[in-house]
Amino acid sequence: MSVLIGMDTKVLVQGMGKTGRFHTEKAIAYGTNMVAAVHPSRAGQTEVFEGEADHSGVPDRADTYRVEFPIFRTVAEAVAETGANASVVYVPPPFASDAIMEAADAGVPLIVCVTEGIPVADMVKAKRYLEDKDVRLVGPNCPGVITPKECKIGIMPGYIHTPGRIGVVSRSGTLTYEAVHQLTLNGLGQTTAIGIGGDPVNGTNFVDALTAFNDDPTTEGVLMIGEIGGTAEEDAAAWITANMTKPVASFIAGTTAPAGKRMGHAGAIISGGKGTAAAKIEALEAAGVVMAPTPTDMGSAMMEAMNK
């Protein structure tokens, strides 16, 4: 069991360029059920993938794979023909928000957008467009979502994950890998790891992810990785106090970040005294969350929270 994605997930790809193809290949090797691609100018062609299976992924598969699927003109056609129920977006920044809205219009229930550098104004519009639609957006500017040994959507290395008890949600890519790796080493493992992305305007936020993990019977605890900028962590702390029934551990990056500078991620900026790591840590501690003092301690903080 897991949240958002699992063995039943059928994934279509929007944006089959160099990056899209590279990660599609990795996902197929992991055992993800990739069923279609959408590319307006290459519609009618067939994508063929052949290679060696990544045995850290879905179990009981042959050592080699051969997968082929069609490229469609539109998301709606791809969904109608293949029954895809998730989309991963690798479309370049100028066109990515349109790809998200197209997938939402086609009713794809889960849209994972990996693209970094989408104009904020485009995401403001896309989020408005998604408001009254029953779809979930993860990202943009995120590594994606993975349910170990079931389904991998995005760019994370599959082999560091292992099935287990913890839901992971994070604004940062490599810090997620760091956290997942520690949870794998200390035996807690993951139910699902969700990268919600480093942009100021994103789809799924911490509260959405916490809600999903809280409702998932197989998730026993949640590790939440935040960073400076915005108030999503403070909102999560308030939600945890009011609703969370499972232990939560957390790490917040950016204690040493200077104000007014964007720390790599578009959303990682302290502005007008708001969005500091100190304020977030204080709010989460007040909500009973076990804070990891350093990123090396994320796994042990989660263990401590589970044993409390």
Partner: protein, 407 residues
């Protein structure tokens, strides 16, 4: 991306937003030459000489070289002495300000060199107000923020008198609706023709903000003149870097002299770099991990010299460039390379580090922590390279090791 006040005002004027008349000057003679036409065209004998730097707090700022001179100066000599007297005073001010270092609350102690002045007509002010358009991350929408407390920093107003701030949310499907503009105009106390003028001003400003992909438009103060006109007395605009590709004319307004040289060099190699004050250089993949690396250096008792994210798909050349940028900083006493390879393979990192050290040499201790994809191969390459480096088992171990080696 930030731009100068005079550039922001030109963009506003293009969109029918009222701003004072002004002329930019990079030399003393240009500054003096601006005085006569401004006074003659405006009919106002007062002019204002404003330093153009990418930092706020200019009015209260002072020059290092001339502690009596502020960053913004109102020249009133023209009232009794005529244009020649105003010109003489502007000549004196411009020769002191140009090339000198302005220190404001936002520049830090080192200050910023002033290389451009903006000479503006004087304005007879009735009231000073505040207006801005910015992203509200909580709602994922732009908001218009208005206050009667003009001239004061909005953060201070928000802290002390939050009831004096009015916010109107802009629905991206509709833009700022007329009734919302009227609400703001009412709250700012506009009446009669000023009210109509103010509503037009708000409409034009919010449209400009959305159309130009701004991060922030802030007018502080927004003024009502003694003859009832609404005008942007100051103007600050910052742009969403991700949206610049569709505004080539705006992108050209970039003033690289306002930006850190090392940060600019890093940008050329698609690296995200920010200089800090410490002495331990960091090279990391991923923004979150890079921030966390700075944090852990501080936790163990050190001070990071920089933030550096080499990104998810860096090539050997970028790694080498990153290494060179770090070692260029004379404060750096040691380097900590912290990589969790996902897409980024550890062998590529190793290859880049080896190439960089071969090219630029290594005069400070180097600690490398590798984890993730192809980690064994990466470690083996470093071992076999004969480089004088220390391996770390995890982030904390690495931070402690580099601290020991630099203390």
């Amino acid at each position: 991306m930030k731009i100068h006040e005079y550039q922001a005002k030109a963009l506003m004027a293009d969109r029918g937003i009222a701003v004072p008349m002004g002329r930019v000057a990079t030399t003393v003679d240009e500054a003096v030459a601006a005085v006569r036409p401004l006074i003659e065209e405006s009919g106002n004998p007062v002019v204002v000489v404003k330093s153009q730097i990418h930092a706020g707090g200019r009015g209260k700022g002072r020059f290092k070289e001339f502690p009596d001179v502020g960053g913004v100066n109102v020249v009133t000599e023209g009232i009794s002495g005529g244009i020649e007297a105003a010109e003489a005073r502007v000549r004196e001010l411009a020769s002191q300000m140009l090339g000198s270092t302005l220190v404001t609350i936002q520049t830090g102690e080192e200050g910023k060199q002033v290389s451009r002045l903006y000479i503006e007509q004087g304005i007879d002010i009735a009231t000073e107000l505040y207006l801005s358009v910015l992203l509200d991350r909580a709602t994922s929408r732009n908001i218009v923020m208005a206050s009667t407390e003009g001239g004061t920093e909005i953060e201070v107003v928000a802290e002390e008198t939050p009831e004096k701030i009015l916010k109107e949310e802009i629905d991206p499907a509709f833009g700022l609706l007329p009734f919302q503009a009227r609400n703001i105009a009412y709250s700012l106390g506009f009446e009669g023709d000023t009210f109509k003028d103010g509503v037009r001003f708000l409409d034009a400003l919010t449209k400009a903000a959305v159309e130009l992909d701004t991060d922030l438009v802030e007018i502080n103060p927004l003024v009502v003149t003694t003859d009832g006109k609404v005008m942007a007395l100051d103007g600050k605009m910052a742009f969403d870097d991700s949206g610049l590709f569709r505004h080539p004319a705006v992108a050209e307004l970039r003033d690289v002299s306002e930006e850190d040289a090392a940060e600019l060099e890093a940008k050329e190699f698609d690296l995200s770099f920010i200089k800090l004050d410490g002495d331990i250089g960091c090279m990391v993949n991923g923004a979150g991990l890079a921030m966390a690396t700075m944090d852990i250096i501080q936790t163990v008792g050190g001070e990071p010299a920089n933030f550096l994210d080499v990104g998810g798909g860096a090539e050997k050349e970028q790694i080498a460039a990153a290494f060179k940028i770090i070692t260029k900083d004379p404060n750096v006493k040691g380097i900590f390379v912290n990589i969790f390879g996902g897409i980024m393979r550890c062998d590529i990192i190793a290859e880049g580090v080896i190439a960089a050290v071969e090219e630029v040499g290594l005069s400070v201790p180097l600690v490398v922590r590798l984890e993730g994809t192809n980690v064994e191969l990466g470690k083996q390459m470093l071992d076999e390279s004969g480089l004088d480096l220390v391996s770390a088992s995890d982030m904390k171990d690495g931070a402690q090791k580099i601290l020991e080696l630099t203390r």
